[in-house]
Symmetry: C2
Subunit: 342 residues, 2 copies
């Protein structure tokens, strides 16, 4: 059964990472680019060159504003690409960066982003080996758009495959969700809201991935950094790909007070809000306790939690469950409540 | 001696591929991204992973209009990345494509570009294995910007190095220059000019590269696809990198009548106009005749010509010479006479 894409024009929701993005990619782009290495909604493509197993990923960044509490477009672009490689079970080996710059952009703004990118790459131990720069007229871009592309080498300690999910596997999360999306929303200044303690969570998730590799590499079934579309969208994708159900223990999911408050006020679900430094993994039941301890031992991992488990029914579905027995369907993101968050 | 970048804001010329682009990349970006694999103005970065020699390149495309006689942004984006790998002596193995789409873009326009990209990739025998899509508000992009990233495997038949240039080496060109840039200029409709016979030369240069590999791989010193900045800028770069002089036989350079006429009218030099399917190589003197014959035997290579030779003086300089003894300095592109041609 193939999804058909019948929309007549591009809307903001097509870039939001939820259902509309999925329809665009799976209904239009993937069928045309059709090839065995293309895995439409996974984080990186995996293929072999000369016997070496490689992963490759590219993302464009259009976040607005360019700088926000806790990070900036350049840092996001480098961390995002590193994270896509890492959760695909690959060690980052090289990055490229391209820029679309708006004429009139102050050079100091560009310099700050280039320095942020270099610092983020250095922190992750990977080099930015090339790129490209284009300039468009004033008014044809919002300051700058950045595209990063990353190459990684598959880490043989992992054998990730959603098809290996089985009932009882545990869902682990590295920390509190929603900080990035809500920070961006507040940073735009369009709402009469402020929260001094809000900061983007942008960071490389490589230390979490390495912690799992060392603890229980072969017991890890799936990893993901829940960016656009949030935790709900990422888990719906693995539910769909595996054919399993994911039971989400909603009370176990860490959400900072400012994020929870903003979501309540604005009618948003923290599970749909983008993160830029969080990490989800599904591990074998037998490995779950050690894996969680390993995540918590990572600096910045003290809020890591066991947030769900794999069940056989209802197939291809994410269900939120509460301690007093309530359940609700947790769907993918629909629409685009927070445009241009990355 | 290090170039310093002291400009205060980004101008169109910084994206034109000439002197201002060079100052931006070498004076600002490269020093911050500093690492051994970074070769600022070459077409692709070369490095090894697990003993396999790889090349990687990325370019953003912002051409306006999106479609023009002979091609479109999608075709350009795929051919351009394939060409950057090919002239770096690498066989393309995988491509990624990312899109920044403007809200309101008719889906039929996007579909046409995706189909053009798939066709171009198929023609070159390489797959588009992944990518990303972002959407910005209406007015924040001109329809769409496309970034392509390519991975290639180094072709062991080549050992390219500008340091190996020596006096007497010959400069070969695959065909007529300037068609792409002048076609774009006319396609914008801003000039009261028309030339029905003008078409972009966008194509993969891989057949030319393969012809040289089979004929005289080890005798090839340098290859380049002269895009932004044109033939003059590409040759100035190799003159500078090698420390040699390049004598350019200006009368031997094929230029179609419409391009020559437009350049005369507008005060442009065809040597500075962008090409998207031409190919320059410098080969050992002893190989030059066979190499030229091989280029001419490629379909679409009937206009290939021997257009220059390497000399020892004046060092780091390109000199145009004519049959009646005239000479002139041929400089890199300065300014941006034709913005957003790719």
């Amino acid at each position: 059964m193939r999804l058909r894409f019948t929309d007549r024009q591009i809307e903001m929701a097509h870039g939001a990472g939820g259902k509309a993005s999925r329809r665009l990619v799976e209904g239009l782009i993937a069928p045309v680019f059709d090839n065995p290495a293309l895995a439409p909604l996974s984080d990186a493509a995996l293929f072999s060159v000369n016997g070496t197993r490689l992963a490759m990923t590219a993302d464009s960044y259009v976040v607005r504003p360019l700088r926000f509490p806790g990070g900036s477009i350049g840092e996001l672009a480098v961390n995002g690409t590193i994270n896509d490689l890492a959760v695909s079970g690959a060690r980052p080996r090289a990055l490229l960066a391209t820029f679309v710059l708006e004429a009139g952009l102050p050079v100091e703004i560009l310099r700050a982003e280039i320095e942020a990118m270099a610092a983020a790459a250095r922190r992750a131990g990977v080099a930015i080996v090339g790129g490209d720069t284009k300039v468009v007229e004033h008014g044809s871009a919002d300051g700058m758009y950045v595209t990063t592309c990353g190459l990684g080498e598959a880490d043989p300690r992992f054998s990730l495959d959603p098809a290996t999910l089985r009932s009882g596997d545990r869902v682990l999360l590295s920390g509190a969700i929603g900080d990035h999306g809500i920070t961006i929303l507040f940073a735009r200044g369009e709402l009469e809201l402020e929260a001094a303690e809000l900061r983007s969570d942008t960071r490389p998730v490589t230390p979490f991935v390495e912690a799992l590799a060392q603890t229980c590499g072969s017991g890890v079934r799936w990893m993901r950094d829940p960016t656009r579309g949030g935790v709900a969208t990422a888990l719906n994708e693995v539910a769909r790909d595996s054919g399993c159900a994911i039971a989400l223990f909603e009370e176990a999911i860490p959400v900072h007070a400012a994020v929870r408050g903003a979501c309540e006020l604005l009618g948003l679900d923290p599970l749909h809000i983008a993160n830029e430094g969080q990490f989800l993994a599904i591990v074998a039941e037998a490995d779950a306790e050690r894996a969680l301890a390993a995540l918590r031992a990572v600096p910045g991992g003290d809020e890591a939690a066991l947030v769900g488990e794999v069940r056989s029914k209802p197939a291809r579905t994410v269900v939120g469950v509460t301690s007093y027995g309530g359940t609700r369907a947790v769907d993918m993101l629909v629409g685009d409540p927070l445009p241009r968050i990355c």
